[in-house]
């Protein structure tokens, strides 16, 4: 299964790597050149459109992004030579474009008048930190299976991180979602970090329990029904998601964790019945919360009737308090097929969270349908590489971890993009890599690093029984 996948991938490669097997590192390097050049051109484009001249920070930005990408590439080449060649370029491209878009919105007078500060330099710093963490993971995490040791510690840490924001006061400016911990002017979003840590717990836990969960079940109407006591874990995670939703009013995180858990449970046990249970519980939970939480109801109203915000106040549906949803639709619609061009749109009319949750609306308006579809496909490609890594992984823990991280990433993209485009109710989450927000960008770089580590292990030639001295010999006799 996994080996055939891996060799199939490398079969046509002519690159000679130190191990004598193709590693695709040069492909990665070539892709990275594009991933750096495209944002640099975009940056120049914004500067020319807004000020009529090349932006002053052009050289610094280009060199900075190039340097970070170059170092990351060298470290991958040295420490994870067989890793997937596409993930790093895609992440770099998305991060680079995100920086350009944030810088573009920094130029907006309208946002400046609202009191939004300059965000691009900070975001650049966070990106650098994210890449540093990426490098650290690759250098120090020699094998992803080491993480298995920390299964239950991860659980405790994740629960603390998830619960923490509930004890901090909600920010008024954030429309009621409590997902932040603030220290003065500095704030972090612990839910983002919890995303990776809880995946480690799920993977470790399910790897141990999968046989019990899968085999000890009864058949009923063609479905394998789990025993009552085996329902325990899914009930706990479900309850946790509901609690997040109720106490932190955070629809996105709640949906993300529950969805990811159901996916991992399904992969671990290969029992379709879990999906059914998961969907039923999600629907039940959603109905329950929608009935009792005014904040969630307001979001649903904004999703169903975005334009009603323009009605006179007494005719507006209850709970509809923001015109963001309508403004985002205006931005997408005004962009049309080809977009207004970078720097020439008015997506800053969205106002609050234009640089973070709603960054995709700027893509929509300024790069148009074409650009938005390209960005969505880039995300899709990154997820696909992650799932491929899961397929290729040789150990169950690696498989579970990879699919957990990939599906979390996929769900997050779907929940944010779907919310901003009005496909599903809006939730307070950030577009991975592109949106303003330190926690998010750091976490996602770490996520990609772990996926690269798993894929390196998976694609590495099967370990020989005896270490290196014989390796040369075996190569020689290979047909």
């Amino acid at each position: 299964m996994s080996t055939s996948q891996a060799t199939g991938n490398t079969g046509s490669n002519t690159t000679i790597s130190p191990g004598g097997l193709p590693s695709r590192r040069n492909t990665e390097l070539a892709m990275l050149v594009f991933a750096v050049l495209i944002p640099v051109f975009a940056y120049a484009n914004v500067g020319l459109a807004i000020n009529g001249e090349m932006p002053a920070g052009m050289l610094g930005y280009g060199l900075g992004l190039g340097l970070m990408a170059g170092v990351a590439h060298l470290v991958v080449r040295r420490f994870a030579p067989y890793a997937d060649p596409l993930m790093l370029p895609i992440a770099t491209l998305l991060n680079g474009l995100g920086l350009v878009l944030i810088w573009r919105l920094d130029q907006s007078e309208r946002l400046a008048l609202r009191g939004d500060g300059i965000a691009a330099p900070n975001q650049l710093m966070w990106s650098a930190l994210g890449i540093a963490l990426f490098l650290a993971v690759l250098v120090f995490l020699k094998d992803h299976r080491i993480l298995q040791r920390y299964t239950y510690i991860s659980m405790v840490v994740a629960l603390i991180l998830l619960a923490a924001p509930a004890f901090f006061p909600a920010s008024e400016a954030n429309f009621g979602a409590k997902i932040w911990i603030r220290f003065g002017s500095f704030s972090i979003q612990p839910g983002e970090f919890a995303k990776i840590i809880i995946t480690i717990f799920f993977a470790g836990y399910l790897m141990v329990k999968r046989d019990a969960l899968a085999l000890a079940s009864r058949r009923f109407m063609g479905l394998y029904l789990p025993r009552g006591r085996d329902l325990g874990p899914i009930l706990v995670v479900w309850a946790m998601s509901i609690l997040i939703l109720v106490f932190e009013t955070d629809l996105g995180t709640s949906l993300l964790f529950f969805g990811m858990f159901v996916v991992m449970l399904y992969v671990a046990t290969e029992r379709t019945s879990w999906i059914l249970f998961g969907l039923l519980m999600a629907a039940g939970g959603a109905a329950f919360v929608a009935t009792f939480e005014a904040h969630v109801r307001g979001r649903i109203m904004a999703w169903l009737h975005p334009m009603d915000i323009f009605l006179p106040e007494d005719q507006r549906p209850e709970g509809l308090i923001s015109d963001q949803a309508a403004q985002a639709l205006f931005a997408f619609g005004s962009g049309g097929t080809l977009g207004s061009g970078l720097g020439q749109g008015h997506s800053d009319l969205i106002g609050f969270a234009a640089k973070s949750d709603f960054i995709l609306a700027t893509v929509g308006e300024e790069l148009g349908l074409t650009g938005t579809m390209a960005i969505l496909l880039l995300y899709g490609l990154l997820v696909e590489r992650g799932i491929r890594t899961a397929l290729a992984a040789r150990d169950p823990f690696g498989k579970l971890l990879a699919i957990g991280l990939s599906s979390a990433f996929a769900l997050q993209v779907f929940v944010v993009a779907g919310g901003v485009m009005g496909l599903i109710p809006l939730t307070g989450m950030t577009m991975p890599f592109m949106a303003q927000g330190g926690s998010s960008v750091i976490t996602n770089w770490a996520l990609v690093a772990i996926l690269l580590r798993i894929s390196d292990t998976a694609r590495r030639p099967a370990p020989a029984p005896v270490p290196s001295p014989d390796a040369e010999m075996t190569q020689v006799v290979r047909p």
Binding site: M1, S2, E109, R110, L113, V263, Y266, V267, A268, E270, M307, F310, A326, L329, F330, F332, G333, S334, G335, G336, T337, H346, L349, G364, G368, L369, T372, M373, L376, L377, Y379, G380, V383, E384, I387, A390, L391, P396, K399, L400, I403, S406, S407, A410, L411, V413, F414, A417, G418, M421, G422, L423
Partner: protein, 485 residues
């Protein structure tokens, strides 16, 4: 574990597909709806992103643009003599949208119109800012000013048309408003706007085009046209009418104002002295169906677009007594000042009704003509012979009838007065009407006018078309004739 993994891969693929489909829906299928949505601020931002093109009267712009300091809007609309021209231009306000010519030709004025594509492309290559085109109107500044000034602080409207082409020369509505006063988006602009909305005199109502009034005795011209066209009457034939005339199916007697020879009067005499009895009887004899048919020839029962929409003037189906009263413009039939100007113009133009219009040309920034209005005939209200008989009647009115105050030296003027009752039991001040045309010695008819004055603050007895409305019409006709000389 790989089978579920592959299924998850398909699931993630479906998620991305759902996003792509949604994206196509909002950015392609629905894009135009969002793009032009009335609450989408980009519409206003685009409208004021560059100096707006101008609305031109007699070669001079009556509008302008000035640069402003604001994040959203670079320019603001200004108006020269805004009060005089507001019924023509409408307004373009950053906060409150646009109406009339400002709205209808927004694409030309902003430069966004597809027909300006060539200019836009050139501008793009030469690096120049997009420019707006101009809208050239048919209006005559002297006629408009004369009308506005003689209306003074009276409430009402006046419309002047060139009968030969249908070109609108004057479009006055009073009280008026200055569109400059709320062109911006500050709190001061909002205050002005709200004040205008609350004003009981409705200054923002375009009375010339959008308000319908009972036409009163001016409608007798239409009834006379119907009488001649039906072949049942002639200009100097006795009409066999009693005075007073008892309305059909009724015990009400209809009398006449003043002491004039209305009994058995011919059409000419009846018109001269505005005999109610004669025209009510004619209307009854022709019947409701015929009266509707003949008034529709003049443009009743349909909306007109000049290109600003004008309200529909009506001559409805009704019972016999009401139909008889409609023959003297005093029942359920109603008309806009524009409609009555069309009546006078069609008579003056020997029966040919020309389509009224006020957009002459749309001009691109490079001065090339994008669109030009060619005069169009809407139809014939009567044969040339009968139309000339109608002219004789209307000229008699001004020569030695109720319309004497509209006489102009050296020019033949035809007219008809009207005093339309309104309010329960005629309690409110009546509407004073006057419709007329002027014919020069060379036989051309450069202008036809309709004037209505609503309950002005004068003594009730003084209210009559000849005293209040005729001077306005006269001033406007003189202005047009002066321009010709």
């Amino acid at each position: 574990m790989n089978k579920p993994l592959r299924r998850i891969a398909i699931f993630c693929g479906l998620l991305v597909l759902a996003l792509l489909i949604r994206d196509n829906w909002i950015q392609f299928a629905q894009a135009d709806e969002y793009k032009t949505h009335k609450n989408n601020r980009r519409v206003a931002i685009e409208r004021y992103a560059q100096p707006r093109g101008n609305i031109i009267v007699d070669g001079k712009a009556v509008t302008g643009s000035k640069a402003t300091k604001g994040t959203d809007f670079k320019y603001k609309r200004t108006y020269k003599n805004g009060e005089i021209w507001a019924p023509v231009t409408g307004y373009a306000s950053q906060a409150f949208g646009a109406t009339q010519l400002e709205s209808i030709y927004d694409g030309i004025l902003t430069g966004d119109d597809d027909r300006l594509f060539f200019n836009q492309t050139i501008d793009m290559f030469t690096g120049e800012d997009q420019k707006g085109g101009n809208v050239v109107t048919t209006l005559d500044a002297d006629v408009q000013k004369a009308g506005f000034e003689t209306m003074g602080d009276k409430k009402g409207a006046a419309v002047a048309i060139n009968p030969e082409t249908g070109a609108i020369l004057g479009l006055v509505s009073t009280p008026s408003y200055d569109p400059s006063s709320f062109a911006g988006n500050s709190s001061k602009d909002a205050e002005k706007w709200n004040g205008l909305l609350k004003d009981e005199d409705e200054p923002m109502l375009n009375r010339a085009l959008r308000q319908t009034y009972p036409p009163g005795s001016t409608f007798k011209v239409v009834t006379a046209a119907a009488a001649l066209e039906s072949g049942m009457y002639d200009i100097d034939e006795k009409t066999d009418t009693p005075d007073p005339y008892r309305l059909p199916q009724s015990t009400t007697d209809l009398g006449n104002d003043g002491n004039h020879p209305c009994e058995d009067a011919s059409l000419r005499v009846a018109m001269q002295w505005s005999c109610n009895t004669v025209f009510a009887k004619i209307s009854d004899e022709l019947g409701n169906e015929k009266m509707i048919e003949y008034s529709e020839r003049f443009g009743f029962n349909q909306e007109h677009f000049v290109p600003v929409r004008a309200a529909e003037s009506v001559y409805p189906e009704d019972n016999r007594p009401q139909n008889a009263m409609a023959g003297i413009g005093q029942a359920s039939n109603r008309a806009t000042p524009l409609q009555m100007a069309m009546v006078a113009a069609a008579v003056a133009n020997d029966g040919k009704l020309m389509e009224p219009y006020m957009m002459d040309q749309l001009i691109a920034p490079g001065l090339s003509v994008v669109e030009e209005h060619k005069p169009r005939e809407m139809g014939e209200i009567a044969s040339a012979e009968n139309a000339q008989k109608l002219q004789q009647m209307m000229e008699t009115v001004v020569e030695k009838g109720t319309g004497v105050p509209a006489q102009i030296d050296g020019v033949t003027v035809g007219g008809k007065t009207g005093t339309a009752q309104h309010g329960e039991n005629n309690e409110k001040n009546p509407y004073a009407w006057f419709i007329s045309y002027a014919k020069t010695s060379d036989g051309s008819t450069p202008i036809a006018v309709a004037v209505v004055v609503e309950s002005a603050d004068v003594l009730r007895d003084d209210i009559a078309g000849s005293k209040l409305a005729a001077p306005v019409a006269k001033a406007m006709m003189e202005a047009a004739l002066d321009g010709k000389r």
